[in-house]
Symmetry: C2
Subunit: 166 residues, 2 copies
């Protein structure tokens, strides 16, 4: 037997989760989707490792959305995000996308702490784009529904890959 080397658990944002909530009254459960309502028509990576692999092999920037299903700010952003055809099309054409309710072991994905909702971009060179942020100084990677325009500008920024800056 081997001891799993994971201090991960200690830094989990996790807390209150939606585990077990997807039960219908009839007792039949609705299968969980990978999109979790952020865009059913998009192709979602399941894990960060998978997302990085696809970002690198397809040379597309990765967008990581951290959220919680019982956080009103996450839900408000999700509604705007999933209904915005321009965002959805941009992602489908040019991004690898991943939504997470649990933190990963990579601390670079929480440059100024773990909170939701927050959106981080990762370049195909596997560099977290900490330079691409929203408008809140105390939570650099937070977006509110009113920030959709800024989010789109930031997506365009992320599309300019680091290699092309050389």
């Amino acid at each position: 037997m081997i001891k799993a080397a994971l201090s991960v658990l200690l830094v989990l944002v996790a807390m209150s989760s939606t585990f077990g909530k997807n039960t219908l009254k009839s007792g039949k459960r609705i299968p969980q989707t990978l999109s979790r309502g952020w865009g059913d028509q998009l192709i979602w990576a399941q894990t960060y490792e998978e997302a990085l692999y696809w970002s690198r092999s397809r040379n597309k920037p990765l967008m990581v959305i951290f959220h919680l299903e019982d956080c009103p700010h996450s839900l408000a952003l999700k509604k705007i995000f999933s209904e915005d055809n321009e965002i959805q099309k941009k992602i489908d054409d040019d991004f690898i996308v991943l939504n997470l309710m649990y933190e990963t072991t990579d601390k670079h994905l929480s440059p100024d702490g773990q909170y939701v909702p927050r959106i981080l971009f990762v370049d195909p060179t596997m560099t977290v784009r900490a330079d691409i942020n929203g408008r809140y100084m105390n939570r650099l990677y937070a977006y509110e529904p009113a920030d959709v325009k800024l989010l789109k500008l930031n997506m365009d920024k992320a599309k300019k890959l680091l290699k092309s800056e050389l």
Copy 2:
């Protein structure tokens, strides 16, 4: 900008994947499910971190299934697995469950290499149960459809938590 510290990519089993295959002829995509056909009625963890968190907080063993959607051995096992009511009920009652198509950063989940399909159990103490294995000496954690009975016995073994051995 911060460099993501991930040598992970080098050890990815990944290879040929199903990325982009879930497109219908009409152009409308079927939303991806977390179950990936291994049991739509079960509640699946999305990531290893999430699964460990639930295993610990609910004091239930974790079952991790590594598979690929274009691997005939994975598909054969999936069919038996998803149609076996006893297995599905056992999981729903007593296990946390996770299916992965990409390797994690935890090498303890590949005690004798990375191959699919393979099934590993993890105790709520976060100990990978390398002692619970199938019948193939060259691939200790592989199961074939004919091994369903052994898999059930192994699930019962995993249910005897390590703490209770003390």
